[in-house]
């Protein structure tokens, strides 16, 4: 089922106005479609324009030309108040909310829906309860923000955006500075919110590993190739990720979903191994020590490695055969040559 995008734009030019008539265009002719019920990750190197794109989509920065459409309505035609009910943001900005409780911060998300004095109705309080529950922080609702870990604080800001009841949530590097457990938690949480609450969630991140696992769609942004979008697996298998960072020293390995340094080697060793995990880490070790790996047993290589188990490595050099009991011993053999 393909729904109409909640945010769309055609031939969008983004960038800055630099005093006078000067324009500094960061990207031009971007075509954008963000869908409800999906988690979309925006990937790109530092300085690729991720934050500029997010700011433009959230209406915090005007596009240089072209219109961002929110459910078909141009962003420029949406009132400040209406916009605050359409797009919620999670930023990396410095805040001064250490003296507020978790609940008070989440309740700030109700501001677009409350009256002049910001009094919370029972419906508002129910929405705050739901948002706290969705982010698993109900038990922390009376704690001060200052007492939370970075990961917990991020969950509170996500709960705030949820309480805002916006169909669109934009997040600028929500997993930066978090440890691996919190990163996975936050990404899983966002994916669950996108699916269960049918929100369109777009986040920028450097955490490519998690993005490939949990993101429904990828937006790749680079200075050279502009914006490439698609379902995560289409993007991975198309090889587009190799062009994300224009750097000859790294390449993307679609099998393991990760970037690796490009191997420079002039020597090759033949590897014979049935187990995929063992094979992967054997190649890893060979590459790091400046060797390439070959798999054709009949090739004219002088060394053949038979990897039986992690403590049973048979080193065959012409007619000389040695049994090694660890990768430590293998490293020593390689360095002796």
């Amino acid at each position: 089922m393909k729904t109409a995008p909640v945010i769309s734009a055609q031939n969008l030019n983004i960038g800055y106005r630099t005093g006078g008539d000067g324009l500094k265009c960061v990207h031009h002719n971007l075509n954008i479609a963000l869908h409800a019920g999906e988690l979309t990750c925006l990937l790109g190197a530092n300085g690729a324009g991720k934050s500029t794109l997010l700011r433009t989509l959230s209406g915090a920065q005007p596009a240089l030309s072209g219109d961002v459409l929110i459910n078909g309505t141009p962003l420029s035609k949406i009132s400040r108040h209406r916009l605050s009910q359409s797009i919620g943001v999670v930023l990396t900005d410095k805040t001064a909310i250490g003296g507020l409780t978790v609940r008070e911060v989440v309740a700030l998300g109700r501001q677009p829906h409350t009256g002049f004095f910001g009094r919370l109705s029972s419906h508002d309080n129910a929405m705050v309860d739901d948002s706290l529950k969705a982010c698993n922080i109900t038990d922390k609702q009376h704690r001060y923000m200052a007492s939370l870990s970075d990961g917990e604080r991020q969950k509170v800001m996500i709960a705030k955006a949820l309480a805002q009841e916006c169909p669109i949530v934009l997040l600028d590097e929500p997993t930066a500075f978090l440890d691996i457990v919190s990163r996975i938690e936050i990404m899983s949480l966002l994916h669950r919110i996108a699916t269960e609450h049918h929100r369109a969630i777009l986040l920028s991140t450097h955490d490519i590993e998690q993005a490939l696992v949990l993101s429904d769609r990828l937006w790749l942004l680079s200075r050279e190739s502009g914006l490439t979008t698609g379902i995560t697996e289409d993007i991975i298998l198309s090889g587009s990720l190799d062009n994300l960072f224009h750097h000859t020293d790294i390449h993307f390995d679609p099998l393991h979903g990760s970037y690796y340094p490009t191997v420079q080697h002039d020597k090759t060793i033949v590897v014979d191994c049935k187990d995929e995990t063992l094979l992967h880490w054997t190649i890893n070790l060979l590459n790091r020590n400046g060797y390439g790996a070959a798999f054709d047993l009949s090739s004219p290589c002088s060394v053949i490695l038979h990897i039986k188990a992690r403590n049973e490595i048979i080193w065959q050099h012409d007619n000389e055969v040695a049994t090694l009991h660890s990768f430590e011993e293998l490293t020593q053999m390689l360095q002796k040559r």
Binding site: A96, E104, P112, H142
Partner: protein
């Protein structure tokens, strides 16, 4: 359950502060540089005949307006400080540190020294000129600092810019002093020491109206102020009109600082320290409760300072600016030393 507890705690705190400020206000009527027996004070207040007519005059014409002034000035300066701290996202901001009361002083100096009119002895027109001068001066400095804050993101740098603007303003005041007559300089210097007794019973309604207006504007801004705690970009996303809110804050802070400075001289440390006392007592940065608590704490602190300033008895009055740092400075040092343990510092 604990939500109800929280509400009742802040309500209890507010009631305590109201009672405390009422008691201190009454105490201010009984204590002054001229010693008047308590029985006679009660006689005057209840409209009974008084032993000496001069005592009645002192209480009606001096002590009552001074106690009301101390109450209003305490509220005004404390709230001005809180508004500045939230606007600049900086707990060490305050009207004195950012040079805003120096701006008001410059406005007053221009009126008093260059214009040749004196606040205490002038007719009402000169007196209004002084207030307008103070407001224009305070608002100008505040506008300059707001302008710098749009591109100086570092809070410490912004405070230093505020101090520099303050120094520049002071040097203009010194120049004005240099060219003024001895009498004018004397009057200006006396005013600069801070004096809560400078507002006469006739001037009081003017002062009260201006400061109550400023306080009301501040109270109406508590919703956007809470959003501003998240920073301007978050606040904008919550639908807050940042420029309109900043203009209202400029108006309220300017009004509160300028009127108080015009009437009482530049009273230091209240704006900087009282919001901290309030946050520490309230244990919250939520402006819905923090604004009233800050207001009441300001009243309590300045009424207390006013009482301390008359301790020498018949030997005269200690300038209020010699007393306020005694309470204010230790609070700021305490807050800075303990900032790692104080929740609102770790935002």
């Amino acid at each position: 359950m604990s939500r109800n507890l929280h509400i009742s705690y802040s309500t209890r705190l507010i009631i305590t502060l109201v009672v405390l400020s009422a008691i201190l206000w009454v105490c201010n009527l009984f204590i002054g540089s001229v010693s008047i027996p308590a029985k006679e004070v009660i006689n005057v207040l209840t409209g009974q005949p008084c032993e000496r007519e001069s005592w009645r005059y002192i209480i009606i014409e001096s002590r009552i307006p001074q106690a009301i002034t101390a109450l209003l000035a305490g509220c005004s300066l404390a709230v001005a400080g809180l508004l500045l701290q939230t606007t600049f996202n900086n707990p060490l901001a305050g009207p004195s540190i950012l040079g805003i009361d120096t701006g008001a002083s410059l406005g007053v100096a221009i009126v008093m020294l260059a214009g040749g009119t004196l606040l205490t002895s002038s007719p009402i027109s000169g007196f209004i000129a002084t207030i307008v001068g103070a407001f224009v001066g305070a608002a100008s400095v505040l506008a300059i600092i707001l302008f710098f804050s749009t591109f100086v993101r570092n809070n410490l740098m912004l405070l230093i810019i505020g101090m520099m603007v303050g120094y520049l303003t002071s040097s203009i005041i010194s120049l004005l002093n240099f060219f003024a007559s001895a009498n004018q300089v004397h009057a200006y210097t006396m005013w600069g020491m801070g004096n809560l007794g400078g507002v006469s019973l006739q001037q009081l309604p003017w002062y009260a109206t201006a400061s109550v207006c400023g306080l009301l504007i501040a109270l109406l801004l508590s919703k956007p102020l809470n959003a501003m705690l998240l920073g301007t970009r978050y606040a904008e996303n919550l639908g807050v009109n940042i420029s309109a809110t900043r203009n209202m804050l400029l108006l309220a802070t300017g009004l509160l600082t300028a009127t108080t400075t015009a009437f009482c001289g530049p009273v230091t440390f209240i704006g900087l320290s009282v919001p901290h006392i309030a946050r520490l007592l309230l244990r919250s940065s939520n402006h819905n409760t923090l604004l009233p608590v800050t207001m009441l704490c300001g009243a309590v602190v300045l009424l207390l300072c006013n009482m301390l300033s008359v301790i020498p008895g018949n030997n005269g009055i200690i300038p209020i600016n010699a007393v306020t740092p005694l309470i204010g400075a230790p609070v700021i040092i305490y807050v800075i030393v303990n900032q790692k343990k104080i929740h609102y510092f770790n935002g």
